[in-house]
């Protein structure tokens, strides 16, 4: 049995999970324009899988279970002049949906901010409680 979670554990761990999510989004966007010589080697969008970490009933934080390759398949493009083209003159562009990634980025930032807000509120309330009776 782990020690009971405080609000700081809950929001802190959630922030690191959201940061992993933001990192995957950044990797996906960075690789959005990359091409590859075969379908297998082409970049596919990375997605973190979140998992609930329950402490006691109703008190739970979140952790990144694993990061999986998800999203759409790499797109085949006919470009015989490309140095990476295979014998048929095809290259594969990274399977990244940039619009979806941008939406994901905004959502991640929002949820990160929410957790920061939770942390701030918990901090002020704890400090106020400490000052009680002084």
């Amino acid at each position: 049995m782990e020690k009971p979670f405080s609000v700081f554990d809950i929001a802190g761990r959630a922030m690191s999970a959201q940061l992993v999510r933001l990192n995957t989004t950044a990797s996906n966007l960075a690789n959005a324009g990359s091409v590859s010589g075969s379908k297998e080697d082409a970049f596919r969008a990375l997605k973190p899988v979140f998992r609930t970490v329950t402490n006691s009933e109703g008190v739970a934080t979140v952790a990144v279970d694993r990061v999986v390759e998800a999203g759409k398949d790499p797109e085949m493009r006919h470009a015989p002049d490309h140095p990476l083209a295979d014998e048929n003159g095809n290259v594969w562009a990274a399977g990244v949906d940039t619009a979806a990634e941008l939406v994901e980025m905004v959502e991640t930032a929002r949820q990160y901010q929410n957790n920061v807000q939770v942390l701030q509120t918990a901090k002020t309330l704890t400090l106020d409680t400490l000052r009680l009776g002084q």
Partner: protein, 117 residues
Amino acid sequence: MADGNGIFGIHGAALALRSQRLEMLASNIANAATPNYKARDIDFGKALELATNGRTAKDAVDAAIAYRVPVTPSLDGNTVELSTEQTLFAENAVQYRTTLSFLEGRINTLKRALKGE
């Protein structure tokens, strides 16, 4: 303190429950993006009634816990709606502070009585 008959009356129990509810709502906000997570909350009135009738804060919370009914359920089975959770979190924080000032008032009254001012 939890039985509501001490110096602090009902406010001691209320503060403990508010703090537990704060953790629960923080959990909901933390799991806003976790698939299949079901948001939970406590029925505060019920918990307070149990806590003032001699139950410990933890027992009272466990008996008054419930799942939130979402307005629009999402496809991944997550029932956290950030607008709802944020509003309740803010409300709970204000109520926590209110309880704190009630306690502060009690303490000041007692201090004044002790000093004989």
